[in-house]
């Protein structure tokens, strides 16, 4: 029998704990494939966050560090400055990157740290049990906005790519999604571009990946795909928000 596909080298044999229908597994695989294909596994260092992907330190097959909630970009900064030959990425969720770690996100972009952020936006807190995230949509129910997010009480969702695109230091920014096969392929391309940006010493890169969390949205995986397509995409338009090369060209 011919093997047509296999697990990327940059993922370990550890069995992932993610729920059925969750997008983290897909995103992990895409990141690992990029590391493999760019040939940088031997010098990749990843930062695992606090949140559902906390165990990413076990899943990625390269040196890993797990740090405090939201501080991934600061930790990645410390590693990259001391080991510039390493390819350093920080894998973060929406609560981690856009709420408690917003300062670290913005300032690492402003300093144009030569690191890559992988930002998983699934519009909800996962590990803690479905609380409202900075990216929760207006009207969306969560365990801390049981009647739906109300702008008057909870404010508005944050569009991170748009926000960071204002900073000179941000060199590659793209928003993608993993809710369909076509989008998965596009996400991989974006991730590769982001890592390439780092390899070319161009500075800060981030890919925001819209992702599924059926468990905490309280819907089926199939409904979750629909939720992204119909509810999240209008709020979070996909596309490249910053590309240094495109500007030049």
């Amino acid at each position: 029998m011919q093997q047509v596909n296999k697990k990327p080298k940059s993922l370990t044999e550890a069995r992932m704990h993610y729920c059925p229908g969750c997008g983290h597994g897909i995103a992990h695989r895409l990141v690992a494939e990029c590391i493999d294909e760019l040939g940088v596994q031997g010098r990749a260092v990843g930062v695992a966050p606090v949140g559902c992907s906390v165990f990413a330190d076990d899943y990625f097959n390269c040196d890993m560090i797990q740090g405090p909630h939201g501080r991934g970009p600061a930790i990645a900064t410390g590693i990259k400055r001391c080991r510039p030959q390493c390819v350093v990425f920080s894998y973060q969720g929406d609560g981690d990157l856009a709420s408690i770690g917003m300062a670290e996100t913005i300032h690492s972009a402003a300093r144009s740290e030569n690191i890559t952020l992988v930002f998983i936006n699934n519009s909800i807190y996962g590990m803690t049990g479905g609380q409202m995230a900075p990216t929760t949509l207006l009207g969306q129910k969560s365990t801390t906005s049981p009647k739906g997010r109300d702008a008057a009480v909870n404010g508005y969702p944050i569009r991170v790519c748009e926000l960071l695109s204002q900073l000179e230091g941000a060199r590659y920014l793209e928003r993608t999604s993993v809710h369909s096969a076509a989008h998965v392929i596009k996400t991989k391309k974006a991730l590769k571009k982001a890592f390439q940006c780092q390899l070319d010493n161009k500075g800060f890169s981030m890919v925001e990946v819209l992702s599924m969390c059926p468990t905490n949205l309280g819907i089926t995986p199939k409904e979750c795909v629909k939720f992204i397509a119909e509810k999240m995409l209008p709020q979070y338009p996909l596309g490249v928000y910053k590309d240094l090369d495109a500007k030049k060209g």
Binding site: D58, M64, I65, G78, I79, R81, C82, R83, Q85, I106
Partner: protein
């Protein structure tokens, strides 16, 4: 080495760290420690290291967490309110067994407090400071010379036992100038052996993970207990205490840092007026020199703890002497200036009372 320089405490601290091999500093401005990041900003680029003015103290300590994970000698510094913010990262470093080095140039508190020298952060420093069961190796210099020479000891101890290490100074030590001689040859960090846990280029070896969590049943306790063994070893081997004129002393002053300098003035006045007074100065605050204090308590009749805080170190002193003699407190706090004259008066008061045969009541 050799040359005598007149330096500010904060600058000596920074220079001492660089000479001890520090190549990464991240910090955030706060008085009275601003000279440390200012000095590092040019000195580290000269030494081929990295200086980052972070967006916050929280970011700074987490940059250290990442930098230290690569096996680099790191430093951050701040003053009281900023050190409170850094406790998140210190706890993570303790939990991940990372040997970081940081300094607290203490100011008056609580809250925003003031910018004068104070010792109000003793509890925070000696009890870990952040969440969880852990300790930090704490050194308390009392001169500019020690500000410059202690960082090396902090790095060595931190790396040997894989614990965070800190210098607990204060605004006075940070701002004063004194002659200093660096008592060690500058260290080239490239000559240091790379630790076998450091992250970086991982070609051809198993992956390494730096983390402070373990959710498997019983695993975290196991990890913490193995760390506790190292804490015990530190307590047995690394406690430091300086004594002055304790041999024949009836009353021994116990003070650290700036307060110990002030006590030296009081000691001089006391001896000149024929009073048998001595001074014990803990140089490490954790581990606290319990054994030394216990020894002294067998000789002296009473102890007077002098602090620029409401009575924090006195608790460790009392634990060390186990009620064998009376322990008194002379405390100034929140940045008030402690003087030799007032300590001398307190000494006179105590000795007068004991002469009259009055029981010396504690506190």
């Amino acid at each position: 080495m050799g040359e005598k320089l007149l330096m500010k405490g904060n600058e000596a601290l920074a220079e001492g760290a660089v000479r001890a091999g520090c190549r990464f500093f991240a910090g955030y401005p706060i008085t009275p420690q601003n000279e440390v990041p200012e000095y590092m900003s040019w000195r580290l680029s000269e030494a081929g290291g990295t200086f980052i003015q972070a967006e916050s103290e929280v970011a700074a300590i987490n940059m250290l967490y990442g930098a230290a994970a690569t096996g680099t000698r790191t430093m951050t510094s701040s003053s009281s309110p900023g050190i409170s913010l850094k406790q998140e990262g210190v706890s993570y470093c303790a939990g991940a067994d990372l040997p970081i080095f940081f300094a607290n140039v203490v100011r008056g508190g609580p809250g925003l407090g003031n910018i004068s020298g104070s010792q109000g952060d003793y509890f925070q420093s000696t009890r870990g400071g952040g969440h969880g069961d852990y300790r930090v190796f704490v050194m308390a210099p009392n001169s500019v010379e020690e500000m410059g020479n202690f960082p090396l000891k902090c790095y060595e101890t931190a790396e040997k036992y894989r614990v965070p290490a800190m210098i607990l100074a204060d605004g006075i030590l940070g701002q004063m100038m004194e002659p200093i001689e660096f008592k060690f040859e500058a260290i080239d960090p490239k000559q240091l052996k790379a630790p076998d846990w450091a992250l970086g280029v991982n070609e051809g070896r198993p992956k390494r993970i730096v983390r402070s969590y373990d959710l498997r049943e019983g695993a975290l306790e196991h990890l913490t207990l193995s760390r506790a063994k190292r804490y015990k070893e530190i307590e047995d081997k690394e406690a430091l205490c300086e004594e002055k004129m304790t041999e024949d002393a009836d009353l021994i002053l116990v003070a650290y840092g700036t307060a110990s300098r002030v006590c030296q003035a009081a000691l001089k006045m006391a001896r000149e007026s024929g009073l048998k007074v001595g001074l014990a100065r803990p140089i490490t605050l954790w581990p606290f020199p319990k054994k030394k204090l216990s020894e002294l308590s067998a000789r002296a009749k009473s102890l007077l703890v002098v602090e620029m805080s409401l009575g924090q170190m006195i608790e460790d002193v009392k634990l060390a002497v186990e009620c064998r003699l009376s322990v008194h407190l002379h405390a100034r706090c929140s940045g008030a200036v402690l003087t030799g004259e007032e300590v001398f008066q307190a000494v006179q008061g105590l000795l007068k009372k004991s002469k009259k045969g009055e029981a010396l009541c504690s506190r």
